[in-house]
Every structure is written in C-alpha cells, then in structure tokens.
C-alpha cells in the first residue's frame, strides 16, 4: 500500500505491506535505523517516535496508520551539525551508555518538554517510566532532561503558541 507522510521535515511516499509495523517501515524501507526495536510488544520504549506531536511506540502502530502523519524520529532532532540542547545535555550528563534506549528517551523527552517546558523532576521521571534503560539507572537521564528544560522554556517564549 502506498502512503504519504512527512518525516523529519521531508514529504515521503512509500510502499508498505499492510502488516508492516511503522518501526519496520522506518528501519527497513526508509533506512531510518536510529529508531530501535527492543521488544516489539510495547514495553521498552526504544521505538518511540513523535507522531503529530505525541510520543508514540512505533512497534505498536502499523505503517499504514501513519498515512498523512507528521513524524519526527531521532534523526530529526539535531539542529544541523549541532546537537540539540537535549542531546547536548545527554552527553554532558552521561545519560547514555550503550545508546540503545537513547533514541526513545530523546523523542519521549523532546515531546514532553516541547509541551511542558517547566516539567518537574517528578513529572519527567514519571513520563519515562515507559522507556527502559538497562545501563544508566536513569538518574543521569533525569538530570539531563532537567538541564535541557531551559532551552525549551526559551524557545517557548520566543515562539509563543
């Protein structure tokens, strides 16, 4: 089936089998392998992408359901050659070790902080309960997100909704 969607700012048309999940389509059809698959049953959050502004598990969605959607994957987060403020905070705080959960963490937190740039530590912790990380123990991830809030607050102020 042919679907058209916008991914990381580009309009894309792709032919997918009806039973193909969105994460498989991104990885296999579009070579966007930054989106990872850790469980394929909706628990680990590694496959999280942003669909129409919301963090979504791409392993629980069929590619055809994304027809017409606007999608951001981890590949679309950096500002050109520079890391985004959230990515840079992850690096500063050593919020990643093996990097496997990282794309899902980044997309989840990017969606959260875009909506709620003043999110509390508790709120941040709570939101990433759906993203499993086996390496870091989560503490530096929360610290990185807290540190990145300021940049989201600034961009909210400069471009009010």
């Amino acid at each position: 089936m042919n679907i058209t969607l916008s991914i990381n700012g580009a309009r894309i048309e792709v032919d997918v089998p009806p039973r193909m999940t969105l994460c498989d389509a991104l990885r296999q059809k579009l070579q966007l392998t930054g989106t990872h698959i850790g469980c394929e049953h909706g628990v680990c959050g590694a496959c999280t992408i942003i669909v129409n502004g919301r963090a979504v598990r791409s392993c629980l969605m069929l590619a055809v359901q994304a027809s017409g959607a606007t999608i951001t994957t981890v590949e679309g987060l950096a500002h050109g050659d520079d890391l985004s403020p959230l990515q840079a905070a992850f690096r500063r705080h050593h919020a990643l070790q093996c990097g496997f959960c990282t794309p899902g963490m980044l997309t989840t937190l990017h969606a959260l902080l875009t909506e709620e740039p003043y999110a509390s530590e508790e709120r941040i912790r709570d939101v990433i309960t759906g993203n499993l990380c086996r390496c870091t123990g989560y503490i530096p991830i929360v610290e990185a997100a807290l540190d990145a809030r300021e940049a989201y607050q600034r961009s909210r102020e400069s471009a009010p909704l």
Binding site: R27, T33, C44, L77, F100, L132, G137
Partner: protein, 764 residues
C-alpha cells in the same frame, strides 16, 4: 595553531564521550541496522519441551512456503555435530558441552532444533509453525536437588548430573570450627535472573568463496576467542575468519559468548554462499540468552566472641541449566573463591557444585558469583553479630583487610581453570568503609533502625565488597601514524556500551602527548590486530589501556629514531615531547612532518596475569511497608577505590547503572520455571527490570588512593563493583527494619509478596 601541552592530562578528566555523537543522532550502527545485498534471514525453531528424545522432524511443509529456501537440522550438519568449546576447560565438563543444534535429545525449552532460512525474517518466522517435531518426553529436572539425586540423568554417557565441583581451601577450616567458641549454620539462595540488555542478540555472516573467508558481524566481548572457536568448528584456518564489532546495545557479561546461533548462522552462510542474518526477538531472548545466579548455599561461620571471624565453610549448589556453556563455570568458581570477599578469614573450605537441569544454560552476568557470594557473606556476618551481641559495623571493621595484609592470597581453588591462585593487590579496606559510613551519615541515621514512622519500618545496613579485574594473560594494541598526522589506535578490548573509544583515546592521548582529536580509535574486531582478547571480568580498561601504554612507548621510540635520521643526529641526541622531536641545539621535527614521509606502526602486547582488586563499601537506608511488603530505597551510598580513575563520568555511570541492576535482582527479576520446565516469563511486562521511578536515590563516590601495583596504569576493574554489594546490604537493611517482627530473609528475590509472607510467618 593549537598548542598541545607538553604533558596531557586527559586521564582523570570527565571527557565527554566520542561515541555519543553518533548515538545521539541515531547514527549508531547496531547489528540489526546492517543489511547485505542478497541476504537470507534466519529463524530458530526451539524446543517447546524441557526434556525428551527427538523422534522425528518433518520440515517439508515449511519448505513449501514461498520465500523459504532451506531448513537446517542436525541431519544437515557434519555427522559429528560440533559442540560449543569451553573457555576454561576442566577435567570433568567435557560430556556436558552443548551441541550447536539438538541431536537425539532436547534438554531445555528453547534449545535450537532447526534453523529456517528465508527471504525475510517474517517469512522465516511464519515457517517455524509448519515444521512438525515429534518428541518423546522424559522427566524434566527443574531444581538442583532432583539433579543431585540422579534418578534421571541428562547425559547418557555420564553417571552424574554434577558437571563439576570447585573446591576452595585456605588454612584448616575443620580445626578452626572445632576450636571456635561460636558457630552458626545458615542456608541462603539467589534466584535465576539475567543480564537483559536492551538490544537483543543478533549475527550476520558472509562467506566469500573467492578468498575462502568468513566474516561475522555482531561480535562482542570476546571476538578473538570466538574466531578461534568458529574456525575450529568449521575446519577453517583462524585467519580465514573475522569477527567484526558494531555498536553493541549492552552486554553485562551475557552477550558475546559463543552461542549455538553463532555456528548456525555462519554454517548457513558458508553452505549456501549467501549472507545470512539472524536477530533474536525479545521472547526468544528470554529462552536463549545465558541465565545466571541461581544457587543455594549451606554455610557455616565460626567466630571468636570478640567478633573475629575464624573460619567459614560450606557448599554452594549452582543450577547451571542444561549444558556447560563457554563460561558456565565462572560463576561457580567465583562464588567458591570470593564468598569471604574483603574480610581476613584464615580458614576457608567451600565446595561449589555445578548441577545440570532442564533449563536454559547459565553463563555470566555482571559480578558473576560475586553478587551471590557477597549476599551470603554479609548476611552471615549480620546474623553472627546479632548472636554475639556485637555491633555489625565494629565486627566488619575488625575483619576488613588492611594495607599490612597486602598482597592477600585468597583461597586456592581446584580444579585449576586458570584462576586457582589470586591475591588482593593493594588498599586499606577500612578507608572506603569509613568514608561510606560518613557520606551515608551512619551516626545520624542509626537511631532510625527498626523504627516505625508513619506505618513504615526503617532500616539501615552497610557491607563491603571486592571486585576482581584485569583477567590476563595479555592484551594487544597497535598504534599507527596516518598520512595527515593523526594517529590510529587499535585495541583488543571490545565495546559493549561502556565507552571504550573515549577511555582508550584518553589513555593514548596522554601517552603520546598529543591532543584527543588527533586520535582515532578502533576496537573489538579481529581484523584490527593479530591477537587480542576482549572485555570481560572488568578487564577492558586495565588490560587494553596497559597495552596502549606499551604500544605508545614503542611508537614514540620509533618516532624518535625517524626524527633523528631526518635531523641527522644519533637517536639518543633527540628528545620527544608533546608530539615533537627536538635536538639539543634547538632543531625540531613534529610528528606531522614524519607522517608525510613514512608510516610508523607499532603493535605491542601487554602481559599481566595478576588480577587487580577494586574494593569498596555500600550503605543503604530502606523503609518497608508491612502491609504490602513494599520496600523503598531512601538512600544508597557506595564508595569504592578503583586505583586510578580514567574518566570519572563513565566510571560513575558504570557504578550507578550496576547498582540499579542489582536492585532489579534483589526485588523483581526472576526467571521462574514451572515443574514441567516451562519458563514462566516471556516479555518485559512480566520480567521486571527497574524503571525510572524505582531507585532515584543513589550516590556513588570513587577514590584512587591505592593504585594497583600490578599494571602500569595503576587501574583496577570498575564495571562490576556497583552490583556486587547490593544484595547483601539491602537484605540486611530489610532485616534491620523488620527486627521487631524477627524477620530474617534468606532468599531472593524480595518481592512485596515474599516480604509480606515473611512477616505473616513470624506473626503466626
């Protein structure tokens, strides 16, 4: 132009990681991200029966499915089915080796029976259900007691289900127990759980007919051993095989050992002359990754009335699952050797028995045998202190090793699998203990012990641990000057997410006295070096880093010679500093200039078989809800001494991450089997690893007061220490909290229902 300081100090600084730049952008290259033109995808048909005789396998219907190319079973392999080689052979384990595919018998749910090759993973997986397998079931053995009993034997060629017994001895335990004024006996157990990295396993193999060369992508941990193993099993020269490392989504001791799938994927690639790729799914991972930790200990402690520990002895029965895997004996040997941990106990006698059962074969998981041993030992000390009416803190300090004891020989183990003798290398173990008490605020928190506040019972505990590191015998590194003046560094250590690129670059930059951005680091692939080992047993940094130092020395000597020739003076008239060679009369030539003229390449090997011992202490404050059995970790502090800190950022990450894994093992992770040998968990929804809200209060401090005398860096291992003390201290704190109930937990995991049950039992 950028001026490089004469002496760099990258080592010791929180250098941000090089690898992060690609991971953060989604540009990492993990196994499943790799596709090869014309590749076939594999899926493994696994036994659904725990124990039985294979009567018949019918693959015809599967082969009829469009897109399916082949189905491999034992009948398609050479008449003698290869078995997976041991990393540390010992005299009794040979009959317990695992064939790469089930022959005649199946011995665990999940054992590979057939391997389907198809155009896509989906088709291959669909085809699995069209293979019909007939199995005559046999009685399954699902616990060590039934295994010991031997009424059913797993291996017809043997007389026993005990694959091996490791004996650890020191002094004269029998005499010490006879003479001791106080003796106590206890039984403890740890449940089966495992590493559970977020990336499942996977492999991609390609056979090049023209050059008769096999390439295997997806290496981790031990590329060189696995290459040797693969070459042997395939009847190839070692140089005809390469194991290449990609980015690795977590290892923790379980990934990267030689698994049955390594052979099945590579064999198929060679046989069909096609690239073959296989990626495990999560459910499969539960059945196929090495399990760990399942053991029960019957122990005795002998003390003087002042709390001096005179001796410890006992038997540890380890359920190792259906086969002896390459490193399956490591936890068994470790637990017998390291139970006494950081304490000066002159008389020790432990037997560690490895018993087979109809469950997934066991291997290593971070801190193998050490997490368990520390739990046993720390529990034992607290129980003894209570009996003797002593303060547990005083009793521990009295028995901790000091610098005067160094080097301190640990119990000798037989059979000798290469680690029979080992000694703690340096340190006064009271330093980390005292600092931990301080950081934790032991004095202030002590009054809380056993108190009930707002319905929650509070408890605190402290314990000590050692972490062995730097497994020998050697590691290699190569340093090569590139035309543009940059330097390529190749190391045998492998990356499993711990930041090896950054750490090794820091060491190389300091040794070569050049800036970090001039170094490119390559690691973990057999194509880089003639020989190497890898990253396991907390050895990556120490062994690989030391190899880099040795290679750097030779490289600089070669640079000195080349520069001298160019400056037309004898070599000894030239000094090298900061990447520049100078004569006494002030003439100079920088490394960059030499790079344009000649290639300098030096490969060197660091030899070292003496292990290093990181030591440390951990303290915890818990509250327990007696109505639900739920435990909260209110504060957890760990202080260790790692000899030398290379990168405080990554080190801290290792310690905190490991501690959280440890909490998972204490409270929630359990690979439970039913009586028919079926694994009862199969998803991340029912195997509960810690989530972000579980353990937010962890503090970790690392010291470098006692460098290791055993390597030029002075470094010790650091990947495992964080997990080792968790079980011991947490359970002691829970016992302290619940002392008014008289609850003394002896087995893990301490799930809320388990704790609730213990409270109910003491009430009745």
């Amino acid at each position: 132009m950028k001026v490089t300081p004469a002496v760099n100090t990258f080592v010791g600084r929180p250098v941000e990681r090089v690898e992060d730049l690609r991971y953060l952008r989604g540009k990492g290259q993990y196994l499943d991200d790799l596709q090869k033109e014309g590749q076939w995808c594999g899926a493994v048909l696994r036994s659904s029966v725990a124990h039985g005789r294979l009567v018949n396998i019918d693959t015809k219907a599967a082969l009829d499915i469009p897109g399916v190319h082949a189905v491999i079973t034992a009948a398609d392999l050479p008449s003698v089915i290869p078995t997976i080689p041991f990393r540390r052979p010992n005299p009794t384990i040979a009959p317990y080796a695992q064939p790469v595919i089930a022959v005649d018998k199946v011995r665990y749910v999940g054992e590979p029976i057939a391997f389907v090759l198809a155009d896509s993973a989906e088709i291959a997986e669909d085809a699995l259900q069209f293979i019909s397998v007939e199995i005559d079931t046999l009685d399954p053995i699902v616990d060590w007691r039934a295994s010991e009993n031997g009424a059913t034997l797993l291996f017809d060629s043997t007389q026993t289900n005990i694959a091996s017994v490791f004996e650890a001895r020191s002094g004269d335990a029998a005499e010490a127990f006879r003479a001791a004024p106080y003796v106590r006996r206890e039984r403890f157990s740890v449940q089966r759980h495992t590493a559970m990295p977020m990336e499942t396993r996977g492999l991609l193999a390609e056979w090049d007919e023209a050059t008769s060369h096999l390439t295997v992508w997806g290496a981790a941990k031990l590329p060189f051993f696995n290459r040797r193993a693969m070459a042997g099993m395939m009847g190839l020269q070692e140089t005809a095989v390469d194991y290449l490392e990609l980015d690795v989504g977590g290892g923790f001791g379980a990934r990267g050992e030689f698994y049955p799938e390594d052979f099945l994927v590579a064999f198929s690639a060679k046989h069909f002359k096609r690239p073959v790729k296989w990626v495990e799914d999560r459910r499969e991972h539960f059945l196929a990754i090495a399990h760990a930790r399942e053991m029960e200990a019957e122990l005795e402690i002998a003390c003087d009335l002042d709390g001096s520990i005179l001796g410890m002895r006992g038997t540890i029965n380890v359920d190792i699952g259906a086969y002896v895997r390459p490193n399956g004996m490591t936890p068994v040997r470790n637990v017998t050797q390291f139970i006494a941990g950081p304490y000066r106990i002159a008389n020790l006698a432990f037997d560690g028995r490895a018993l087979v059962s109809n469950k997934t074969p066991a291997g290593t998981y971070r801190g193998p045998g050490r997490f368990e041993g520390c739990f046993f030992c720390e529990r034992m000390i607290d129980l003894a202190a209570k009996d003797l009416n002593l303060d547990g803190v005083d009793m521990r300090r009295r028995n901790l090793l000091t610098q005067a004891d160094m080097p301190y020989a640990l119990a000798t183990v037989s059979p000798n699998d290469g680690f029979a003798e080992t000694a703690c290398d340096s340190g006064d173990y009271r330093t980390t203990f005292d600092q931990c008490l301080n950081e934790f605020g032991w004095q202030e928190k002590s009054p809380l012990n056993g108190q009930c506040i707002d319905g929650l019972y509070h408890g605190i505990a402290i314990g000590n641990f050692i972490e062995g590191g730097a497994a020998g015998p050697r590691e290699s590194a190569k340093i090569e000057l590139e035309r543009d003046g940059s330097v390529s560094v190749y190391v045998g250590s492998s990356g499993v997410g711990q930041g090896v690129e950054t750490i090794m670059s820091q060491i190389a930059a300091d040794a070569l006295e050049i800036s970090l951005d001039r170094i490119r680091l390559f690691h973990g692939s057999t194509s880089n070096l003639k020989e190497g080992f890898g990253s396991y047993g907390s050895r990556g940094t120490v062994m690989g880093g030391s190899a880099v130092l040795v290679a750097a020395k030779e490289f600089l000597a070669a640079f000195q010679d080349a520069a001298a020739e160019r400056l037309r003076v004898p070599s000894d008239q030239v000094t090298v500093e900061g990447g520049v060679a100078r004569t006494r009369d002030g003439r100079s030539v920088p490394l960059i200039e030499i790079a344009a003229l000649e290639l300098i390449s030096r490969e060197a090997t660091y030899h070292g078989s003496k292990q290093t011992y990181t030591f440390g202490a951990a303290a915890v404050h818990v509250s327990v809800d007696p109505k639900t059995g739920r435990v909260n970790i209110l504060d957890y502090v760990t202080v260790d001494d790692v000899g030398r800190v290379i990168n405080p950022l990554t080190l801290h990450g290792q310690v905190v991450g490991a501690a959280v894994q440890g909490f998972g093992g204490v409270f929630s992770e359990h690979l439970q089997y039913d009586s028919s040998g079926q694994l009862l968990v199969g998803s991340l929804a029912d195997y509960m690893i810690p989530i972000s809200t579980d353990y937010p209060h962890i503090r970790a401090i690392s010291l470098e007061q006692y460098p290791s005398p055993n390597n030029p860096l002075g470094a010790k291992g650091a990947g495992e220490g964080g997990i080792i003390p968790v079980g011991g201290v947490v359970v002691n704190a829970i016992a302290s909290a619940l002392r008014s109930f008289g609850v003394e937990p002896r087995s893990l995991p301490l799930t809320p229902p388990h704790i609730w049950q213990l409270i109910q039992e003491t009430k009745s």
